[in-house]
Amino acid sequence: MPDTPDLATLVRAEQGLISRRIFADPEIFNLEVERIFGKSWFFIGHESEIARPGDIVARQCGIDPVILLRDEQGVVRAFLNSCRHRGMRLCRVDREHATTLKCPYHGWAYSTSGALLAASSEDHYGEGELEKEQLGLIPVTKLGIYRGLVFGSWDATAPSLEQWLGDMRWYMDIIFGRTGEIEFVGVPQVWEVECSWKFATDNFTDNFHVYWAHQSLVELGMLPSDPDFASHGHMVTLQNGHILHFVAGQPGVDTYQGLGLPKALWPRFKENLDPAQVQIAQKHAYSAGTMWPNFHWLQLVTAGDTRSEPCGILNLRLEIPISPTRTRMYSWFAIDKAAPPEYRKHSYETYVRTFGPAGIFDQDDMENWEECTAAAMGPAAKRYTLHHKMGLERPQDRTWPGPGIAYADSYGEMTQRAWYAEWLRCMQRPQRTAPGIVGTQAKVGP
């Protein structure tokens, strides 16, 4: 297993040199499991998915299976999806509405706040053998909610969600708070791709692939024919690896503004955002952001087919690795609660026709992620780096009204380099001594 100095030679983010080895190597993946997926903050779900007390969805926090629910008091909670007795998966459906969670193996039953209500054959336990008050469900160690987005971390020493998101919250306000609240509509599309999770994350902050990877849509006239069409914007890097773009579209060709939302909603920007945020929301139609490491927003304007009118869409994406070379993808459609019904319908139809596994944009991306992964597995490939040097000397644009380091050109690899720099920082974090065995000390209740 490589030690930490080796990792620094594999990822030289400031030079734009990322070793192909980090993408498909099982040893690197095993380190990621502990140092990233055991320690960072991860998106679990949106509050609108568990609107009523007793609503439950089965998800993951990092790579561990969790139950996300709203308890009978209305409190949002997340637990390891595993019984305290024999470790059986408790919630085996994707969503449920229930007042208790009962294990099918031996019948241990828990309240929605995680307390063990009943075990099996309780009369057969001796004194002190079944300490029910200490056998509540294992809570996600840290849980936080920002703008309705529920995040969790398995690291008790992790900074608070607010600290970890930092200035990213200012940009999340624009995407998730511009007209009040947004809601996730229905269930996510879920599918698996034979790729490294990092090729997918890399792609979500890459603007200049659009012309080439989605060339078929240029041919059909659904994308502009100028290869620079998506460069007219800014990219921003923030602390903790959070990265984003705001793009205005090609001058004179693409005049979409206001995040692609109907004009009737634009006055709400001023009610919900500060003047600098309003300026950004007003001026741009496109945005992509990554809440490090694997959760993204895509705010776009596109047509769903060659004859339809373009429409704004808000798509949320999450990649969860299953192995070094296999990744589970989640894609949600979200909408402003204030959006009129005809816009909701148009936006949904546009989303489902362009994004997700059947989307005429998205399906080509998966081809790239799989083939990048397949070509990175051999010993020869692992000796070489990828190329992430675009904009190494790009000056900061100090006129950008928002926080972070901004660059006036949306074509560049500054955001990718920032992502990999954070990857290296996390992978090099001093490891505590053996994590130890957690027995019965999980706390229960508020």
Binding site: V187, P188, E192, S216, L220, V352
Partner: protein
């Protein structure tokens, strides 16, 4: 979201001897479905598109795992929600040389079975259910497999030919394990 939740086509519950295996109608519909599969497996997508009515709704809802009492798990949110224009765009895209997900093309095999034919409430329309198993071989990779049920409405048009007026693709998987849905069903 009610976008994807239009009611399935209603069929007469009366078993019509004219729809039974061995009948001329059943044979005609079986042949229609096999010929459709042939067009797909031979990448004759424009001819395939010609089988659809202009008011086609072609949809594949997302499915979730849930307890039996809560139904089969099909959701309002879909993987595919196409009308004639978007299905045409899907086909025209596949026929460019730059739709990388299918360039070079996947090799598919559409196995169609368990065909049930019923008369629809509307004269000249038939509710046809068929099971599908679609295998995809792509590059040098192993097989990907997609299985499910298609709920079609076939319509007899003025020329006497059949066309597909509605197709609901009910997949068996809740997590699509086959990379993407760049192939047609």
């Amino acid at each position: 979201m009610s976008v994807a939740s239009a009611p399935a086509q209603r069929a007469s519950s009366v078993a019509d001897p004219g729809c039974m295996p061995g009948s001329a109608l059943y044979g005609e519909i079986l042949q229609f479905l096999y010929q459709e599969a042939e067009l797909l497996d031979e990448c004759r997508f424009r001819e395939w598109l010609g089988l659809f009515a202009e008011d086609i709704r072609y949809t594949m809802p997302v499915r979730t795992t849930q307890f039996r009492a809560r139904g089969p798990g099909f959701q309002d949110v879909a993987f595919i929600e196409d009308n004639f224009n978007s299905l045409t765009t899907r086909v025209e895209r596949l026929l460019t040389d730059t739709a990388w997900a299918e360039t070079p093309p996947s090799r598919t095999r559409h196995f169609i079975s368990n065909v049930l034919v019923r008369l629809a409430e509307k004269p000249g329309e038939f509710v046809v259910r068929s099971s599908f198993m679609v295998t995809r071989s792509r590059g040098g990779q192993g097989y990907q497999m997609f299985t499910g049920l298609r709920e079609d409405t076939l319509r007899r048009v003025a020329s006497g030919a059949l066309c597909i007026a509605y197709r609901n693709i009910l997949v068996d998987q809740t997590v699509i394990t086959g990379t993407n849905l760049s192939i047609l069903f």
